[in-house]
Amino acid sequence: MVANQITKPNFPLADHFDSPEQQVDAGKLGMWLFLATEILLFGGLFVAYAIFHNLHPELFKAGHRYLDVKLGAINTVVLLFSSLTVVLAIHAAQKNKTSMVALNLVITLVCAVTFLVVKYFEYTHKFHAGLLPGYFFTNGEIPAPDQAHIFFGIYFLMTGLHGIHVVIGIIVLLWLLVRSLKGEFNEQYYLPLELGGLYWHLVDVIWIFLFPLLYLIR
């Protein structure tokens, strides 16, 4: 049975696939399907955002002034840059430049951690100011303080879920880094890099939507 398989010397072909192309295609299709589920997962929150924004537009206008646009913008740039470095890592693998793969993954990881650190400072500020969801909301300065918590509920839900995805992304990137340091990726086999990269792009794309929706309301 294995004799029927079309193999490449540096490609670890699973024995239920007939060719590396089949394995690569299946892997990518599976990842795209998974990304579709991720978008639908966030879709629920986007619908909630739309409904509550429609019900209480004034709360969103008032609430967003308490978010730090500068920090949000910095994070946007950091994530966009990290998307570039993931692509560069794949590109390096295609050229058999193993050390460049690792380097680019490390830069991506640094960006991901930077994002979380900035987020930590943003969250700390909200905690001190009492700008929190539901019962925890204690800020008295904001207009309509009895309802303003709705905006911050949505803010924490959306950025929180996104933050969890950044953490998962860091784990995936670390796993890819370990494998690249073992020299597993080469011009024939870089499928895991591509799949991890796709996931990381999705994390970025979601942030691209979150940033204007939460920080730049006019």
Partner: protein
């Protein structure tokens, strides 16, 4: 071809020891593990159902108190929906049969397949652990605001449903990738068996609907723990939004349940009529049509929940659309049997039972989809009877039919045909006795989810309770029939039903670990019975 390789051991015996099962990547073994687990929870959910029916033997307190009654029907519903009928056919039969029918060596992602099984087990254990925190009494729908305020392990049970969703998503991703990328040479889309079309349509819904449930359940947990004010009206939230979110998943989920059932029936009807299926493409496309329409009808669960009249009318109209592809299937199956050489073997009898019960379940769905009538029937036993006719009478009959059909392939043993026939008879009789009277009392106004009732309903409840015992015995008898065959059954030939799909024509019963000795090549449609070698 098969005879030359008889010395090679089957997938059941090629590797030995408990760890060869627990860490297996073989889709056939994973399918069997799912089957055993699903059956275990089916009987647990069934036990809760029997307790419910015993309580309803007389008005007022019979064996449990009102609160415990609420907990029992919640557990019955949650277990049957999330642990039995959603994973049921796709994860067990689908896992076993789909790669075989495609002529593939395994599913596209065997590790993810095993992972989805363990996620299922973990989810099931979390669900059961909610009993120790305090059984929940919200109903399986977890409606807010009650689910935010009631005591008990709501968070635990909701988290379990969240975890189980991942199992469902991974199964769906796996099947779609497998169907796209691992078909045998020559197997075009329209040479695929209709079972695959049904499972494929199911996988689409699993992927597109389950994430929305996931986020809904996360929001519910956060609402309950942190009070963020999304669903809680006291904090400015919208409880009806929860219903919208919930049914956006849970109505498509109804088709996650029934589409695989229809998929199985397509195989049974053709094989036991020994005739090419009538309207292959119509049946294939109708599965996809049902999958698409399923996303547009969730509002019919909310006709009395404070939707606008216009929205209600639109949802009502869209709901009737579902009847078209469902009808297409029913008529095509009937036309397939016309002038076929029908054999009334046990799997075919299950399919006949499906016909009868699903027709009743489907047609009463039209009553409920009618806006004005639903106002009267909403939250009565009419609804309970309707969805049991579709879910048990439809899906579960098909599930049993599929198990009896593929049993010789899975285990290599033939069961006792007389016992098989009797299990169908017992289940169909018991089922109708249990649920038909529920239409009658529902139409007269008996509300669902009450442990007490007016005296005029007692006769109906007692008939229903007697029926439930018969039904339970019927299912028990079916399982005994199967288990007895393991020890005493005759050895199954590779193709006992003279079927024409790969799992019967190209491999032994049970198959070897890698499914086929040679890569099967597809040269014909899946139901060309005149082209199968008689020797096989």
């Amino acid at each position: 071809m098969v005879a030359n390789h008889l010395e090679e051991e089957s997938y059941l015996t090629s590797k030995k020891g408990i760890s060869s099962w627990l860490f297996t990547l073989d889709h056939k073994r994973i399918g069997l593990m799912y089957l055993v687990s699903v059956m275990f929870f089916f009987f647990m959910g069934g036990l809760f159902a029997i307790l419910l029916r015993m309580e309803l033997w007389s008005a007022g307190e019979t064996i449990v108190k009102a609160k415990q009654y609420n907990q029992l029907f919640t557990l019955h519903g949650a277990i049957m929906v999330f642990l039995v009928i959603i994973p049921g056919i796709p994860a067990s039969l689908g896992n076993f049969v789909l790669p075989l029918q495609l002529g593939a060596k395994d599913v596209a992602f065997p590790r993810i397949n095993l992972m989805s099984y363990y996620i299922y087990v973990v989810g099931a254990l979390i669900a059961l652990s909610s009993l120790f925190v305090g059984a929940i009494d919200t109903g399986w729908t977890f409606y807010t605001p009650y689910s935010i305020t009631t005591d008990g392990g709501v968070v635990v049970m909701v988290f379990a449903a969240f975890v189980l969703g991942f199992s469902s998503i991974f199964t769906g991703v796996n099947f779609i990738a497998t169907v796209h990328k691992l078909r045998a040479p020559g197997m075009t889309w329209f040479r695929m068996p209709l079972f695959i079309w049904g499972i494929y349509a199911t996988a689409i819904i699993q992927i597109m609907a389950t994430p929305v449930l996931a986020i809904t359940l996360v929001l519910l947990i956060i609402e309950r723990v942190f009070h963020v004010g999304i669903f809680d009206p006291q904090l400015g939230g919208d409880p009806v939004l929860f219903q919208h979110f919930f049914w956006f998943y849970s109505h498509p989920a109804v088709y996650i349940m029934i589409l695989p059932g229809m998929a199985v029936i397509s195989e049974l009807i053709t094989t036991f009529s020994q005739k090419r299926i009538f309207g292959y493409k119509a049946i294939a496309y109708s599965s996809i049509a049902i999958a698409v329409i399923s996303f547009l009808v969730w509002g019919h669960h909310m006709f009395v929940s404070g939707q606008s009249e216009l929205v209600g009318m639109i949802f009502s109209a869209l709901t009737f659309l579902v009847a078209i592809p469902s009808g297409v299937k029913m008529f095509n199956w009937a036309a397939t049997m016309y002038q076929g050489s029908i054999s009334l073997a046990t799997p075919m009898l299950w399919a006949m039972g499906f016909f009868l019960l699903f027709a009743i379940g489907g047609l009463t769905g039209c009553f409920l989809g009618t806006l004005s009538i639903d106002v009267h029937l909403h939250d009565t036993y009419f609804v309970v009877a309707h969805f049991h006719y579709v879910m048990v009478g439809g899906t579960f009959m098909a599930f049993m039919g599929g198990i009896f059909y593929w049993w010789p392939k899975m285990t290599g043993k033939m069961y006792n045909e007389t016992m098989g026939v009797w299990s169908v008879i017992l289940v169909v009789l018991g089922f109708n006795l249990t649920f038909f009277v529920q239409f009658l009392m529902g139409a007269q106004g008996m509300p669902r989810r009450y442990y007490h009732y007016l005296d005029q309903f007692q006769i109906y409840h007692q008939i229903s309770t007697v029926g439930s015992f018969l039904l339970g015995f019927g299912f028990l008898f079916s399982v005994i029939t199967l288990l007895v065959s393991l020890k005493h059954g005759k050895k199954a030939p590779p193709n006992p039903w003279h079927a024409a799909t790969f799992e019967w024509t190209e491999t032994a019963s049970p198959p070897i670990e890698h499914n086929f000795h040679h890569q099967p090549i597809c040269t014909r449609g899946p139901y060309e019975y005149d082209q199968i070698a008689k020797s096989v």
